[in-house]
Symmetry: C2
């Protein structure tokens, strides 16, 4: 509950009679009777304020002493009787748990081709999630011809072409090899592509920007197997092929395969789910999703790319010049505020945490700035540890919303120094027909009534 | 790494005509025709060998040039026709994914009270998992009276007792507060307690040691809410109470609540599952599971512990002196080799990766040593980054098994300098009737035939 007596915090309104404090003043102070100076316009507060844990939020309900005893017994103003869950034994144990039925809104949103229902995407509900790990059941999907049913006992990986020794590996073979784990994101090259539209699409944040997810992947470094097969000197590409109904294939430079590519068998601890490539997925950290070939069955070493559908007709980008970019493997730095975000509603003026995700295919995120005045002023958010290369990074910053129209934005910088561009800069450089690799700053407009929508601002 | 050039590893089997190398010699060499010097008895190899990626494993199958074309088409010796998954479209998209039906063995193993089926545990199958994240469906369970069905719209948290302002919070209230995420383990105080038995229990590793799991938890730092309620100077304990059928409760020192306690709402990105405390769980990083109260409904500030069943009759440890230890909150450093491990079988002599998990309730793991000769000699394993405080840490080390009887062990050290004890040391100090907090070194015996079993060695 706010303790301020008469005035508000936004700089223009700041009362000169109230005591005002900055973040360094508050270490041992109770801020309940003070004002806090913002560090950027629109009420953005110093990121370290939360660490001081001295803000008074407005959402708790003070209850009278006389009601405490009833509340302690489970009888509260909203519970006229004792909590029903305390009146009987609960459900029994389960071999494999599922989300609460009260969370039935937290699902992937499917958008498939009406004429070919195995072709399309399902969107990860980033606006319902927290932290950096995407639970396996909600990892986004992109399938070209559905999810194949593969018995791992009959699945093999073939490595052939320009190698000294063509080899096949069963899944049991692969499980015996040394493994490594890394937390990293996978993002579809087409994620956020509604941003190329002339007008902003109105949908929940995850339904626009949710073709990206982040997991702990574990598997065998591909370099070990390529060494074992023996790469011939003239081999410069690998053609990776899936065991799905279209034999989805794509070309990958040998340098990436020898760098950090993983033949992933596990996702967040358990074996990969069918829709994420069971029993075997090629993981290319930081590279566009389509190169992370699922249901991997074949790696052919060649001296040139195969020029498959998914590196010519698709996953290339038409530039304003009329030429197309091709082999744009690395996903550029990007960020997204997931709370508050489009599709959510505010609960009145007061303190909020602005939080979201940032990621870069080129390495670590080094900075995420947040603006609450449409980009006029910015402040550094707190990056949650651990900050990992080619992984989601969660950022957080406190905000005091004054209840008037506001536009909030986030802007990521990665360790190469690359800064996420504003939309007009991106559109100027790339036109509006590139379709892929849209990574512009996302702006959410918060109406005075509290509704949050997607705007170009 | 040892540089000795003429001595050996796997002494009895080594060919004296083969070249021998140490890890620093192999950077640009093909090791296929050489021997590698071990760094400890029984064939333990330098942890950096995997990084060199020059070991030749024995599990791939070399196929003839004439068979390659058929294999590339999906026709392999084990597939007389083309891969069935490539001959038809796959399954369609799903709102919420599930594991492959071919992984039906990767489940929690339920051990409930036959007279009261909501009282017991389910074991996490650590022997089937990789990495450090436990998927939500497989997080271990410990329930005292089943899993309550709680509608979050009717659930409230009450903070009362020795506070300035008794407060209640709805789940929607809590969602508006600043949050933080951390990856940390939760371990039942009774985990591994079969180790107190006179003879080692023969079961899969997770069914003996799997009352521990590790997730990314996200929620509101408890200190923020306690500050808001205002802790009175004489408040030294909190009584945390659950909304289950037994109103499970336990006493927690205020210092821990103000340090790193979190009111967790999310687990691995999504809302906490019912069996893990939906809609709200108290998370006390590094402290025994029973203090991480699920279905949290009440925190009462007091000047003394409540002396509940779960801190007197249970979760206390009878010592050889006849007295009991009480309030043993922190889980001591521990480690477990998860591959190879009890319940698994080896596939013949050759190179293997020994891998497992280490954790400590007192901070970061700084070292995990591995022995393959029953503890006579040890070598440092590789700790997988990121190494986080009060989290699972995955360790890995290469091993060349010579196919004879072997006993493998792991020994964890944490940042306080504490070293995981051998079983005889632990039993001498604590007796065999303590029941809780068993953290001795685990020994797996590998028979010449390849079967792995639990031994005291």
């Amino acid at each position: 509950m706010t303790k301020k007596s008469t005035e508000t915090t936004a700089p223009k309104n700041r009362s000169t009679t109230n005591k005002t404090v900055g973040v360094n003043d508050i270490n041992n102070n109770d801020l309940s009777s003070t004002e806090i100076l913002p560090v950027a316009g629109g009420g953005i507060l110093d990121r370290r304020l939360f660490l001081k844990r001295s803000l008074i939020f407005t959402t708790a309900t003070l209850i009278t002493e006389s009601s405490v005893e009833a509340a302690a017994e489970g009888i509260s103003p909203t519970n006229s009787g004792q909590s029903p869950s305390m009146l009987k034994p609960g459900n029994t144990f389960s071999n494999y748990g599922l989300p609460s039925p009260y969370e039935s809104q937290t699902i992937r949103w499917v958008s498939a081709n009406a004429m070919a229902d195995g072709n399309g995407v399902s969107w990860c509900p980033l606006h319902e999630l927290e932290g950096i790990i995407t639970p396996n059941g909600l990892h986004y999907e992109r399938h070209h011809n559905g999810v194949p049913d593969i018995d791992p006992a009959n699945h093999q990986l073939l490595i052939h072409g320009l190698v000294e020794r063509p080899l096949t590996f069963s899944i049991d073979d692969l499980k015996r090899y040394p493994m490594e784990s890394r937390i990293c994101f996978v993002e579809c090259g087409g994620n956020s592509n509604a941003g190329w539209n002339k007008r902003p699409v109105q949908a929940a944040a995850g339904h626009i920007h949710g073709l990206v997810s982040c997991s702990e992947w574990t598997g065998v470094p591909l370099s070990i197997l390529l060494h074992e097969a023996g790469i011939r000197p003239n081999a410069s590409w690998l053609i990776a092929e899936a065991a799905d109904g279209v034999a989805m294939n794509i070309s990958i430079p040998v340098e990436k395969a020898m760098d950090d590519a993983i033949l992933a068998l596990y996702q967040n601890g358990e074996r990969i789910r069918p829709e994420n490539g069971y029993p075997l997925r090629l993981l290319l950290p930081g590279w566009e999703g389509v190169t992370n070939v699922k249901w991997l069955r074949r790696l052919q070493l060649t001296d040139q790319p195969v020029m498959s559908r998914n590196e010519t007709a698709k996953y290339t980008e038409l530039m304003p010049s009329g030429k197309s970019r091709q082999f744009t493997f690395e996903m550029e730095a990007k960020s997204l505020i997931t709370s508050p975000c489009a599709g959510q509603e505010m609960h009145g003026a007061g303190y909020y945490q602005i939080t979201g995700l940032a990621w870069s295919g080129k390495g670590k995120i080094t900075k995420v700035e947040v603006s609450a005045d449409g980009g006029k002023t910015w402040a550094d958010s707190e990056l949650q540890e651990p900050v990992l290369s080619k992984s989601f990074t969660r950022f957080r910053i406190p905000w005091k919303w004054d209840g008037s129209l506001a536009v909030i934005k986030s802007r990521a910088t990665d360790e190469t120094g690359y800064v996420q561009p504003e939309r007009d800069v991106l559109v100027k450089e790339r036109g509006r027909h590139g379709y892929f690799h849209y990574n512009a700053i996302v702006s959410w407009e918060i109406a005075a009534e509290g509704y949050v929508s997607y705007v170009y601002a």
